[in-house]
Amino acid sequence: MIRKVRPLFFLLVVVGLILSACTPAATQAPSEPGQPQVTVEKVIETQLVEVEKLITPTPGPVEGTILVDGSSTVAPITQAVAEEFAKVYPQVRVPVGISGTGGGFKKFCNGETDISDASRPIKPSEVELCQKNGIEYIELPVAFDGLAVMVNPANNFASCLTVEELKKIWEPAAEGVITNWSQVREGFPNQPLTLYGAGTDSGTYDYFTAAIVGKEGASRGDFLPSEDDNVLVQGIAGDTNALGFFGLAYYEENTDKLKLVAIDNGDGNCVLPDITTVSQGTYQPLSRPLFIYVNRARVDEKDEISLFIDFYLKNAGELSREVGYIPLTDEIYQLAQKRYDNRVTGSVFEGQGSTIGVSLADLLSKE
């Protein structure tokens, strides 16, 4: 009997699986290869023209390789700059690695790279390592990133959370204690709370803990961490009890699957992250600047680095917006350019690591 049923059964299971695989893909399909893509291409073309207008250097027979490594958050910006840079200086090769902010600094302070991408300022331990190896660096801000706090769309009560409430959820003492939404605020339903967050090796985690808990790297351990933000998106989208945090760029691609939580920085105003609130610094304390660190000695050894940095600071505003980040103000880009032209080494954050709620313009113009 089994012998007769077997092929039929097999077919049934296979067809079932194929169908189940089809459904999520089918909902995505129209947005991928179909019509919208045409409009995307058009937009890109106009953006390209704009970028080309921005470029005003004189292409020369410059050759060389500029090694860049570091934060995976900053990498898309550096890659975009490298891509445009290659159109003007095809002989200069700019490869970009993603070892993470910490991993990048380890290589940078060993002299293995010329430029390090960083999603937070350099830490005391890294300052020490660089000093030990005699590496001086120029710190340059390139864009803003908003850290978004997210819940499942089915969550209709948590539309605004205070920093105090977030601290209560994330501080180390909350481990195993704050496990229910009703404990977060009086009036929230009796519903379990599950937490998702960036992995502990990322600059994102460092910044979030510094901003919310008050101490870099301090948080409860019983949350689901992932270095891949898309995993966090899937996790929060499929869990009605979820709360999580990650870069704003990932929210913007998944607005239908996630609900953004406004942040109240203790003054009673609920602020949602967007281009204006992040770049003007009203979305606090979760707006953070992104940086590149340039090896001071290599600037003199390799002429192409200065060309690349000039190009970077001129076009970072435009290009960071294209890849999902928020541009700095023109004033800050000019201050950064001045800082580079004067070869000012060291960190404006005095090697303290993640620093919360300070104005970049103030810090840069002080020097």
């Binding site: 089994i2 077997r6 097999f10 299971v13 296979v14 699986l17 194929i18 189940s20 695989a21 089809c22 893909a25 995505q28 399909a29 947005s31 991928e32 290869p33 893509q37 995307v40 291409e41 890109i44 390789t65 090694l67 490594d69 995976s72 990498a75 898309p76 550096t78 890659q79 975009a80 490298a82 891509e83 290659a86 090769r93 700019v94 490869p95 970009v96 690695g97 993603i98 070892s99 290589k107 293995e112 891949d228 933000d229 898309n230 870069g247 760029a249 990932y250 913007e252 691609e253 998944n254 290009l319 294209e322 890849v323 999902g324």
Partner: protein, 295 residues
């Protein structure tokens, strides 16, 4: 006496149907076991193909990575993978096959040989990231090779070496002893026996092992990320001492981007990697079926 046999038959009959039932149950369980494996594989394949097919085009072979998904390609990653495979094979095959021949044909049967044999077998099970750390410490930093193709290929060669040694030994062991004895009897030296007989007859099986080892190496990501292979490369590698990226790293990079279009591109990259892998495995099977000598 006749009642006795009748009694026996009754219990035998009863037991028989029960035993047959047990057999059936086992058959069903085994059937589900194979079904589960195949179904998982099919789901995975169907999912990848649905996501990736719209993005599959020749552009993937001719273009460098880009921030615009409709302009992005795998050119540098493909070249990196090909370079890496070539250099890995160049280093791993002579050393691996040589070690296999020595252990099987020449090594004295003593404690040291057994110790080496056990360790080679254990090395085959060491997680690949460990080889990456070794490669970073030894080749990239100690030997000062930097994050180059040659350092990556040396790391990969170490990774596949145990697999090649083990399959070479198995292939050589399958050559009947009578062949060796016949050759020795007419005056061939040990080296001549190995070169003209053992190696020739075991070559198809050794080749199969080598191809399978290479197809493992082409899919590896962790050790290469550890030694510092880069993720964004928009130029052709110039030679073994150039920096590089490979297919799995490019796929990993695209998957981690927020834009869904890049996830489609990653799926297309997976399809290309799968095609390369399956054709390598198919070649191995074809060679085995065609060249194997039946004694």
């Amino acid at each position: 006496m006749s009642t006795l046999t009748a009694l026996k038959d009754v219990t035998f009959e009863r037991n028989l149907s029960f035993r047959k039932l047990k057999g059936k149950i086992f058959e069903i369980l085994a059937f589900f076991a194979i079904l589960l494996g195949i179904a998982m594989l099919l789901t995975l394949l169907v999912d990848v193909f649905l996501d990736g097919l719209p993005w599959l085009s020749t552009r993937l072979f001719t273009e460098f990575p880009s921030r615009f998904p409709e302009k992005a390609g795998l050119r540098s990653a493909l070249q990196g993978s090909i370079w890496l495979m070539f250099l890995t094979a160049l280093m791993a095959i002579p050393v691996g096959v040589g070690a296999g021949i020595y252990l099987e044909e020449f090594a004295p049967q003593n404690r040291i040989t057994r110790f080496i044999e056990i360790n080679v077998a254990n090395l085959a099970g060491v997680p690949s990231i460990i080889y990456g750390l070794l490669g970073l410490g030894l080749f990239v930093r100690q030997l000062g090779l930097g994050r180059t193709l040659i350092a990556g290929a040396m790391t990969m060669a170490l990774l596949v070496l145990p697999i090649i040694i083990v399959t070479t030994r198995e292939a050589i062991r399958a050559v009947p002893n009578s062949i060796r004895q016949a050759a020795l009897a007419i005056g061939a030296t040990d080296w001549e026996v190995s070169r003209d007989h053992v190696l020739v007859y075991s070559a198809p099986a050794i080749l199969t092992g080598v191809i399978l080892a290479m197809s493992r190496a082409i899919g590896e990501t962790a050790p290469l990320i550890t030694i510092g292979a880069l993720t964004y490369i928009a130029f052709d590698p110039k030679g073994p001492f150039d920096i590089f990226t490979v297919l799995p790293i490019q796929i990993f990079n695209w998957v981690s981007l927020p834009q869904p279009a890049f996830h489609g591109l990653a799926a297309a990259g997976i399809i290309i990697l799968l095609i390369v892998l399956l054709s390598m495995n198919a070649l191995a099977i074809w060679l085995r079926n065609r060249l194997t000598i039946h004694w």
